[in-house]
Amino acid sequence: MSDLFRTPLHDLHVELGAKMVPFAGYDMPVQYPMGVLQEHLHTRSKAGLFDVSHMGQVIIKGADYEAAAAALESIIPVDILGLGLDRQRYGFFTNETGGILDDLMLANRGDHIFMVVNAGCKVDDIAYMKANLHDVSVTEITDRALLALQGPAAEAVLSTLDAKAADMRFMDVANLSLAGVECWVSRSGYSGEDGYEISVPAAQAEALANELLTHEDVEPIGLGARDSLRLEAGLCLYGQDMDEGLNPIEASLPWAIQKVRRTDGARAGGFPGADVILAALDHGVDRRRVGLKPEGRAPMRQGVPLFEAEDGGAQIGFVTSGGFGPSVGGPVAMGIVADNLREPGTVLYGELRGKRLPVTVVSLPFIPANFKR
């Protein structure tokens, strides 16, 4: 019927009554019978279980951790050599013009680096690493599923399977024994809530998911709520809020580039587009990603043009992600705006169905992050 890939949890999604849609080449659950709104609110109040097995899981291995880290630092502008054992960090691949090829999470696992990349970019990412990293092996992990358990109840739930889950701090990684299976677990996610991402062998993935779902606080959550959760949390979606044409400073991700990789740092530059990115850090940029709060109830979605005035004037930006924020109780958005208009409180106008409606620049996130530091 279709040539979409299926994750190891596909049958479970269907059994749970999910509405399946094509996403990045996979047949994925966009929502369950609970619906996007309630799934979102449930994740913020209790815990949600997400299937993110479509994402790419990759192991990068060199002679030792330092060798693998040094190799990756040639294509990723973050401090990987300085990352502590069993710690995770956010990063991205950059291109020669300073744009972003994909964003990712990477973890120091002692003798190797474990990386998670976006589903839609994973084939290119892996080919790119294989072509550009020397004396290291790049291996896509295809026999494991990836689950995310997110929400304030996540710690209590996962601790019933392995008490060590509670000892992890935000961005720690550890091997936990969950339902009798060794899993690679990070305390992180994409919802703005506390939680975990769990890499589990494909053959045991459904059993583990079912085990987690037996807990009364846990509900299955689809891609629809995953998107509204990350948007309220101010987290970027690759392809919308960042892409090859936007550098990390324009994408408001300067925090991801540690001092050691910046001008005058011990390992300054040395990655594609370093001249552009370091100049952007040092001298600023003409446009940046900001949070946007539309007044009224009408959502402003991706592509809505932004203006400085209610009438006339040139376009000064555009919405990159937008929709209804269930926890905010109204529309929320992010967009790229001219740098002189980025201050919170600035009122701009989004053109919706021929009418310019006011939107206010706001600080991100829309809801306070709930991480266990």
């Binding site: 966009v30 709104l37 109830r297 009408a298 269930p326 529309p331």
Partner: protein, 119 residues
């Protein structure tokens, strides 16, 4: 009740026609979070876009199923768009229209035909 291929329902009531969207439509759309209704007094023609609705997924236009004048809109729905999901054929109605050509109703589907359409 009469139905359109655009998944609207029409109910005649005291010489007016009440218009909303079907439960099938609201289920397909998902949670509705925004409804923009026309101004009372607007004259509309069949197939003209009169209402904008947005669900958690996307925006959709609702077209007028017949010619006429908008004589009342459901302000409660604008304040609480979830009414369209909760009670599509009752409290979730959109607008009332005074038909200028009542015979346009004759060309619409009855319930059996609509059920066959969505089956």
């Amino acid at each position: 009740m009469k139905y359109t291929e655009e998944h609207e329902w029409l109910r005649e009531e005291d010489g007016l026609v009440v218009v909303g969207i079907t439960e099938h439509a609201t289920t397909q759309l998902g949670d509705i979070v925004f409804v923009e209704l026309p101004d009372v007094g607007t004259t509309v023609t069949k197939d003209e876009e009169v209402v904008v609705i947005e669900s958690v997924k996307a925006a959709s236009d609702i077209i007028s199923p017949i010619d006429g004048e908008i004589v009342e809109v459901n302000d409660a729905l604008a304040d609480n768009p979830a009414l369209a999901n909760e009670d599509a054929i009752g409290a979730g109605w959109f607008f009332k229209i005074k038909p200028s050509d009542a015979s346009q109703m004759d060309g619409l589907m009855d319930e059996a035909a609509y059920n066959a359409l969505i089956a």
